[in-house]
């Protein structure tokens, strides 16, 4: 369920690092907890996000949830598909429904994040 090539936060975000780019999303656990997702609010391309600070929000029918940046960097791209089809976040949170791509400003930050095995343990699944 939780791919080994992603790194995870306690707040249920993930990041995938490819070279100097980090792709950020929310985990399957997060989408399940939220339920039917109806709205995604993302930063603009060029915005600078900072580790642990809000980078946007995800809203389900019942609640709003902040998304915290798992890494710092400048937003290179946002997933435009999510504005028309926010429900994709319920269907493929680790793949097609990524949220933003950032240019990593401190690539070392990734070492502070959990591996898939640690995240599963954090969820009490290990």
């Amino acid at each position: 369920m939780y791919p080994d090539n992603l790194r995870y936060t306690k707040e249920h975000e993930w990041v995938k690092v490819e070279g100097a780019t980090g792709t950020i999303g929310i985990t399957d656990h997060a989408q399940k907890e939220l339920g039917d997702i109806v709205y995604v609010d993302l930063p603009k391309v060029g915005a600078v996000v900072e580790t642990g600070k809000s980078l946007g929000s995800v809203e389900s029918v019942k609640a709003v949830s902040e998304i915290y940046a798992p890494v710092s960097g400048e937003v290179l791209e946002i997933n435009a598909m999510l504005s028309a089809s926010p429900e994709k976040l319920n269907e493929d949170p680790h793949g097609e429904a990524w949220l933003v791509k950032v240019k990593l400003s401190s690539p070392d930050e990734i070492n502070q994040l959990m591996s898939a095995a640690d995240y599963r343990k954090h969820l009490g699944e290990a």
Binding site: G35, D36, Y39, S57, V61, K62, V64
Partner: protein, 344 residues
């Protein structure tokens, strides 16, 4: 599961949207056993009920139900309730779970009449069968003919051999039946109703869908649209107040009807990008003016809707207001309620 007034309640089973659509298109089943029941019985039962309830209790016939406010003398809501007349000496009240003890004490304190007041919650379970296939589902389990039971009427009979009160009442804006019976049979009747509704695609439904459905139907929820500081006139519930009789809290209602109110409950639709939610501030012409009582996405309409209190001067249809969503004002427009009305 969430804690809801001391009850462990499921927010959702298959998902709020799935459950919501099942109720609008076919049928859904809600376990609402947390709701409270109060029985008032005796030769002067009418006198007590008529004093504590805002509605025209005298107009009820046996089996009929009526929505009413239970008010403090200062006009705020103790609770909102459904009154069923079982017979002229027996009234059955369905009240909100978290208010039942407070309601009981409020009513018992007014009882200077020849009747008894019983906090009967523990004696009843309640299952709500809601949706266009509600009657067809329940009919398979009862010999009582359901078709002649009109909206807001009830009949006593049996559901799969269990003595039950079957009421055509609900909180979703759809056709509906609510069934009251002894708690020992809850699990068995739940399963029986699920089986009976299987051919229609019945879904078990939780608190999440209950909230989206009642909001579309423009129905008040205690603690949101109404509370101890809000009067029925402000909440747009004057049609549920019989101003020709006496009732507790009437004086302020009379004054507000004569002099007008300072705030009014209004429906709104978001026109900008964003969802107005419970408790969000509302601006009128750039100034803080009110608050959202309930808000969220409407699965049936595909819009973001809500209810809010606005100063009376701003409480007109078609007015642009701003809901403060995460610190940003987002445009919305006042609209008529209910947001959704079923075709009859």
């Amino acid at each position: 599961m969430v804690d809801f007034g001391g009850w462990d309640m499921p927010v959702q089973y298959s998902g709020i949207l799935d459950e919501h659509h099942a109720v609008r298109r076919a049928v859904g089943l809600f376990d609402v056993s947390h709701m409270g029941e109060i029985e008032i019985q005796g030769p002067q039962a009418f006198e007590l009920v008529n004093l504590i309830a805002t509605s025209a209790v005298a107009k009820l016939v046996d089996g009929q139900a009526q929505y009413a406010g239970l008010l403090y003398s200062h006009g705020g809501f103790v609770d909102d309730i459904l009154i069923y007349r079982v017979n002229p000496q027996h009234y059955f009240l369905c009240v909100n779970a978290s208010n039942q003890d407070k309601d009981y004490e409020h009513i018992a304190a007014q009882n200077r009449f020849d009747c008894t007041v019983e906090n009967a919650g523990p004696r009843y379970s309640q299952l709500a069968i809601q949706g266009p296939k509600a009657a067809a589902t329940l009919q398979k389990l009862t010999a009582t003919e359901l078709a002649p039971i009109k909206y807001y009427r009830s009949r006593d009979g049996e559901v799969d051999g269990v003595p039950a009160r079957m009421a055509r009442t609900g909180y979703t804006g759809e056709d509906c039946f609510e069934v009251f019976f002894a708690p020992a049979e809850s699990e068995r009747l739940w399963n029986k109703i699920m089986q009976a509704g299987a051919e229609f695609g019945i879904k078990p439904c939780g608190l999440g869908a209950r909230n989206t459905l009642r909001l579309e139907a423009g129905m008040a929820l205690y603690g949101h649209e109404i509370n101890a500081e809000i009067t029925p006139i402000e909440a747009g519930l004057e049609r549920n107040c019989d101003m020709t009789k006496e009732f507790i809290g009437k004086r302020i209602c009379v004054r507000q009807l004569a002099e007008g109110v300072t705030r009014k409950l209004m429906g709104f639709e978001m026109t900008g990008r964003g969802i107005g939610r419970d408790g969000y501030e509302v601006n009128v012409d750039g100034t803080p003016a009110g608050w959202v009582t309930s808000g969220g996405p409407s699965p049936t309409l595909g819009k973001n809707i809500g209810l809010c209190y606005l100063p009376t001067a701003a409480a007109q249809l078609g007015r642009t207001i701003q809901v403060i969503v995460r610190g940003q004002p987002v445009d919305a427009m006042t609209v008529a309620t209910p947001f959704y009305k079923r075709a009859r």
